[in-house]
Structure formats: C-alpha cells, structure tokens
C-alpha cells in the first residue's frame, strides 16, 4: 500500500515535468546546414496595421533563414506589462521583447536580464536619430534598437479657438494662460484632462520643468534625487496657476483617457478646445469620439518667459526592441532586419509608427503626424516620459503628486517634497 502511494506520487511528478525537457537553444542538425535556432518575440502591437506588418516580417525572416523559428507572443498593453513583469521577476526575459526604455528597462538591465548590444550594433546605430535612441542608452551603452518615437504637444480645436477670438496658437506660457481665460469667457471648456489616470496630468509639470529648468535640470535630478530646487517648484506653482483657472471639463477628476466620456472623447466631440497629448491623440480622438478632421491642429508646448529650456526641446517616448541576456545571435540579426530602412519605412508609411531613422520623414503621410515628425526631426533635445525615465516608484510619485496639485489636495511645495522623498528612498 505504502509503496503504491510513492509510485503514484512519482508518476504525478514525472508527468508534470514532461514538457520542460524540450530545449529551445540551438541544436546541431546534419553536417553542412546551419544549426536550428528558435527564439521568442514578445510585442504589444495588437492593432492594425502594425499587427500584420510584424507578422509579415517574422514570416519573411524565417523564409530567408530556414533554420530559424520565431515564436511570437502578442499581447495587449496591460496584459503585456503584467506578463513581462511576472516573467522578468522570475529571473528571465524573452529573447526579443518590446520595451519603452527608461527606468523600467534600467531595472531589468541591473537585474542582468538584458543583453548589452553596444558592440554588435555599430554598423546600424549611426542611422537612427539621437532622440529615438536616447531611451535605450545608459552610461554610453545601448540595450535596444528603436522602432517608434513620438512627442507630446497641444492638440487644439481650430474652430473653438476662432470662436474665442484667438487667431494663432500661443507661443509663450503667459499667452497660453491668457488664451485659457479667453476660451473660458467665450463659454468654451479650455482643456480636456483625464484625472482618474494620472499620467496625462504629469505632462504639464514635466514640460514646465523642461521649459523653466531646462533638460539638464531633469537629468541632474535623476542623479541627485533633489526635486525641491526652485525651478521644479516654479513648475509645480505654474501647474497650480493653470488649475486655479479651472480650465478642465466638468468632472475631470474622475475622467479616464479613452473611455466614452473621457479626455479623448471630450476633445474628439468638440467639447473642449485642447489637450496635451502624444502623437497618438488624433487616432484615439476618432476612436473614442467623432474626431475633428481638419479642425484639429498641433502646437508645441509654449516657452516660459525667462526659462532656461528651448521651445524646441521635445518630451515624449516611443518603443524599441530589446534582447534577453540569453538571446541567440539570430535574434539581434532579426531586430536589425526589422529596423532596416525599407522595412521600417513601410510601417511609417502605413501610419503605424513615426520615423526613427534619419531621413525617413518623407514617409509620413498623415498631415497631423507630419507636424509631429517634423518637430521631432528638428528637436534640440529630448526628454523621455518621466514615469518611464525614472525608476517606477519615482515616476508614479510624479504622476500622483502632480495629480494632487491639479486636484488641490497638495500644495506645490508638498508635491516636490513628496517626489524628492520617494526619489531619495529609492536611491538608498
């Protein structure tokens, strides 16, 4: 009786182990032909046209290299993030995986999960724009190749601006605040904002900090963890000055970004005059609301009088493909294939991504995206989204503290103080 219990237990254990015996690494086949290689590719492009473009690229590559098998895992944004987090926390990373770079990638690098490709990409790296590459480079080393880049700016409703008697978009912050007042007195909601999701609010503080303190100040803060300096405080005070004008739509504190009554829909249905959002804004406006068509315009975040930052400094983010520490050489070769000019330009022409390669701007067809691409091409500096540039805890605290300033739950002083506290404790 006892022996049979042991046998059953052993059988159950063995059955459980059955599938893990399969090796995914290279296996030597017959003499002459190259070794068989299988690698994984995780990405989150679940929407057309990129979904089928990526599937096509994988097929093309496998056709050219019969010894290579690419296993694709395609997940929607949130599912992708949580699955990648789970896998990386267990100490592994997929061979090729989509990344936003910044602080999250840095954590993965520090955990030894990501391959340093600096030595292997020397032949192609010169072709990428510096802005596109910046999110994946740390201490002079490169850890991913970019596939997309974009920036945040004001998307505005030309008709509503005309209704308020504003002839051209504001170039300075004080002119911007004046325009907000004009819009309000014309009975127009000046700004749409998703207060429930905190990231859209952090754009305001980030851009103001860039314009007032300049890009070096934000980089300096990443190193010395001090956000209480006068320039950062001034940025928070300007966020409060804007919020005090009550420029946001009714019930913005509970509004989401892309839901039927959210920020994008409010903007897309012509119920608010502008929103501060990334290059994806026009398509989400059309998705969640009616879309503005030719009434939609774009202007960069205005300059702040006396500030150290240039109006041409851009703030945004993109996407890239990083390699797991154990990835085979073919995986890197595939990423190079994916970002080759002809291949990448196809995705740009389809309107799926923006140029990451020098001289690719001509491939952009959509007029709104063309404005963004041109602004990026002539950008004098680039800052990655703060909730991605800094370690996750710091980035989330920036989002949270700025949201509290906008809601009036924290003073500007308390906000920069709480960001500094988290940044300091994170660096210990």
């Amino acid at each position: 009786m006892k022996r049979s219990v042991v046998l059953i237990a052993a059988a159950v254990l063995l059955a459980g182990c059955g599938n893990s015996g399969e090796a995914a690494g290279p296996q030597q086949s017959q003499a002459g032909s190259p070794a068989k290689v299988t690698f994984e590719w995780w990405h989150l492009s679940t929407t057309e046209p990129l979904k089928s473009i990526y599937a096509k690229r994988a097929k093309e590559y496998m056709a050219e290299h019969p010894n290579v098998t690419i296993k694709m895992t395609v997940l929607e944004n949130d599912a992708y993030k949580s699955k990648l987090t789970t896998v990386t926390q267990s100490g592994k990373a997929p061979d090729v995986f989509a990344t936003w770079g910044g602080g999250v990638l840095k954590q993965q690098i520090d955990a030894g999960l990501v391959k340093d490709v600096t030595g292997d990409v020397g032949d192609v790296i010169g072709g990428f724009t510096p802005a596109a590459l910046s999110a994946y480079q740390f201490d002079g080393k490169t850890y991913a190749l970019p596939t997309d880049i974009g920036m945040v700016g004001f998307w505005y409703n030309k008709k509503l601006f005309a209704k308020a008697g504003i002839s051209e978009p504001p170039a300075t912050w004080s002119a911007f605040l004046d325009d907000v007042r004009k819009l309000k007195s014309a009975g127009v909601t000046p700004i749409a904002l998703a207060g429930k999701e905190k990231w859209p609010g952090h754009y305001y503080w980030a851009y103001l900090a860039m314009r007032i303190g300049g890009l070096p100040a934000l980089q300096q803060a990443a190193a010395d963890h001090d956000f209480t300096k006068p320039d950062f405080l001034a940025a928070a005070q300007q966020v409060k000055a804007l919020a005090d004008l009550q420029p946001f739509q009714n019930g913005f504190k509970g509004a989401a970004y892309s839901t039927p009554d959210g920020q994008a829909a409010t903007m897309g249905d012509g119920k608010a005059a502008m929103e501060l959002m990334g290059q994806w804004a026009p398509s989400v406006q059309k998705d969640a609301g009616k879309g503005l068509g030719d009434d939609l315009g774009f202007f960069p975040f205005p300059a702040v009088e006396g500030g150290k930052g240039a109006v041409t400094d851009a703030f945004g983010g993109g996407g890239g493909m990083a390699l797991g520490a154990q990835a085979p050489g073919e995986a890197l070769d595939f990423v190079k294939f994916l970002t080759e000019k002809t291949n990448h330009s196809e995705a740009v022409t389809a309107g799926a991504v923006l140029p990451v390669l020098k001289g690719e701007e001509s491939a952009v067809k959509d007029p709104n995206l063309k404005v963004v691409a041109d602004a990026l091409a002539s950008a004098t500096g680039f800052q990655l989204f703060l909730d991605q540039a800094y370690p996750p805890a710091v980035g989330q605290e920036v989002n949270d503290a700025v949201a509290q300033v906008i809601n009036g739950a924290k003073t500007p002083e308390q906000a920069v103080q709480s960001i500094t506290e988290v940044a300091k404790s994170e660096s210990e």
Partner: protein, 320 residues
C-alpha cells in the same frame, strides 16, 4: 465518522491485532483522499502567505531571485506612517459601518417584504438577486458609464429635475457613490440569505405570537429577528471580510481617486506592487490585510458566532 464503516457487510472483528491492522489501513485510505486537497491548499494558500510574510521584511523590487536587503519591520513602520494607508483604514471603517448599518438592514427589510404573499414575488426576488451574478468588473464598467458626469444616465436623469452630482469625480461624494454601487450589487445576495433564514422559522411561532396579541413590529422584534440571529451574524461576517479585501470595483470605478479619497488597502497594494515595483512594501500591505481578516475571523467566530458553530463538524471536539 464511526458510522462510516458500519455498512451491511461489516462484521465484528475478534482479535485486537486485526482491528489495529484495519485501523491502519483506514488511515492510509483517508490520507490518500486528503492528499490532493492538502497539496493544493499548501501550494496555493499557505505557501503564498508565507512568501508574502517573508518578502514583507525586505526592501525588494521583485527582480532577480530571492530578496536580499533585510530591513526588519521598516516596511510596516513606513506603511503606518503614510497618510494614504491610514486613510485606507479609515475608508474600511466607513464602508463597514455603512454596510452594517444601512446595506444589511435594507436587505433585511426587502427580504421581509418579499416573504409576504405579494404579486410577482418570484420576479422581484430574481431581479434583486441578478446584480450579484454579474462580475465586479462588469458592474464597475456599467456604473462608470452610468455615473459619468457629462453623458452618464444618472446625471441626465438628475438634470431633468434641475440637479446634478459629481458622483465619482469629487473627493466629497466618491465614497457615497462607491457605497451605492456596492449596495446595488450585494443587497440581493444578503436578501437571499435572509429569505432562506426566514423560511426556516416555523410559522407556528409567528402565529402563536399573533394569538398572544403581538402586532407586526413586536412579532418581528421578538420572534423573527432573534430566530434570524445566526443568519444575520453570518451575513455581517461575509460583508466585513469582503470589505477588507475590496478591490475590483474600486479599481475599475476610480482607481482609488480622486486624490486617494476612495483608496482601499488592496488598491494600495496593487499600486505599489505592480506599478511602483516595490514588492516588499506591497507584501507588507498584504500581510496587514491578511492579519486583519484573520484576527477578525477568529475573534468574531469565538465571540459572536460561538453558539452557531456549536455541533458543527469542523469545530474542535466535534466528535463528542
């Protein structure tokens, strides 16, 4: 337990040695049947609790093998020092108070009404119970549409009579709105429990009270309610345990906002564990949640539900 072996084929065993052999064989059989459930329980319930307790005393972002930076109880001191977490506890107290003082009496009232012979009684029972069947996520999405400030149905109806509410978008009203949604979803469940309890009360007792001259209120107060005691106690228990762990609804409706005014412990845990990748700190939150639930469950069972559990097979000394 002893009746198990007394089947028709059981025959008396003369020798004590043979009896011992049978007993041993029986315990092996029991062990075999219990084993799969025990393994699952250890793997899926006990192990995660122990892992969470272990990681809660480390400073750990969740990456790379085991946590190494031991910091003792620092996560807990930090936790109780933050305003957000203290507010979580306050929100818990508020929601429990509301549930016990408003939601449960309301459910009890509806149950008493639907115990009467009224037209369409079965339909009402069905309709009131239906929200409980929906998943929390669907309920959350449904109400975020209904309570949406501009195009939401609630405000469109209110505007027709010249009113308006900020519902979920204002720190002052968000807890009431949240409680409203919780009540909508759960009053039907408690109503069903009360209905079942009410049906177990023999009608003779009610009739006897009526013959003795008791009016409807006195019958309810002195006969129905005391006899519903065990049911009420279990429904309070379920309601409190649910509130301690409240997550899905809040996450969908408000993500704890605006400005943390509707945040619960589970939302804080999610925020720190997954968004800020401070797994040690988030584990500390989960340990506090676990401890609260455990202490409440033990104390409540010991003090309040003692009589209801007497004679239950699970209680200690049940073989007596």
């Amino acid at each position: 337990m002893t009746t198990l072996t007394r089947g028709p084929e059981a025959r008396p065993l003369p020798a004590p040695a043979a009896r011992a052999r049978v007993r041993r064989r029986r315990s092996v059989t029991i062990a075999l049947f219990v084993l799969p459930a025990l393994v699952l329980f250890l793997l899926l319930v006990v192990a995660p609790i122990l892992i969470a307790m272990y990681s809660s005393v480390f400073r750990w972002n969740g990456f790379g093998g085991l946590p190494a930076n031991f910091i003792g109880l620092d996560n807990f001191t930090r936790l109780f020092g933050t305003e957000v977490f203290r507010d979580d506890l306050w929100h818990l107290v508020v929601l429990i108070a509301f549930s016990v003082c408003v939601q449960l009496p309301f459910s009890l009232g509806i149950a008493m009404l639907l115990h009467q012979r009224i037209r369409g009684r079965a339909l009402y029972r069905l309709v009131f119970f239906a929200p409980y069947v929906l998943s929390e996520v669907i309920t959350g999405v449904l109400f975020s549409l209904i309570l949406s400030p501009e195009s939401g149905m609630a405000n469109q109806l209110l505007r027709a009579v010249g009113l308006e509410s900020q519902w979920l978008s204002d720190p002052g009203s968000v807890m009431y709105s949240l409680f409203l949604v919780m009540t909508w979803k759960y009053f039907g469940f408690h109503m069903m429990i009360y209905l079942a309890g009410r049906q177990n009360i023999p009608e003779e007792l009610i009739e006897a009270a009526k013959i003795d001259g008791a009016g409807p209120w006195k019958v309810f107060r002195h006969v129905t309610l005391p006899l519903l005691g065990p049911t009420v106690r279990i429904s309070v228990f379920l309601s409190v345990i649910y509130t301690i762990q409240l997550f899905d609804l809040v996450w969908i409706l408000t993500q704890g906002g605006p400005s943390h005014s509707s945040e619960t412990m589970a939302v804080t845990m999610m925020e720190w564990g997954f968004k800020r990748s401070q797994v040690g700190y988030a584990s500390a939150v989960s340990v506090v949640m676990f401890a609260l639930s455990l202490v409440f469950a033990l104390v409540y069972q010991r003090l309040v539900m003692r009589r209801d559990l007497e004679g239950a097979t699970t209680s200690i000394g049940g073989r007596r």
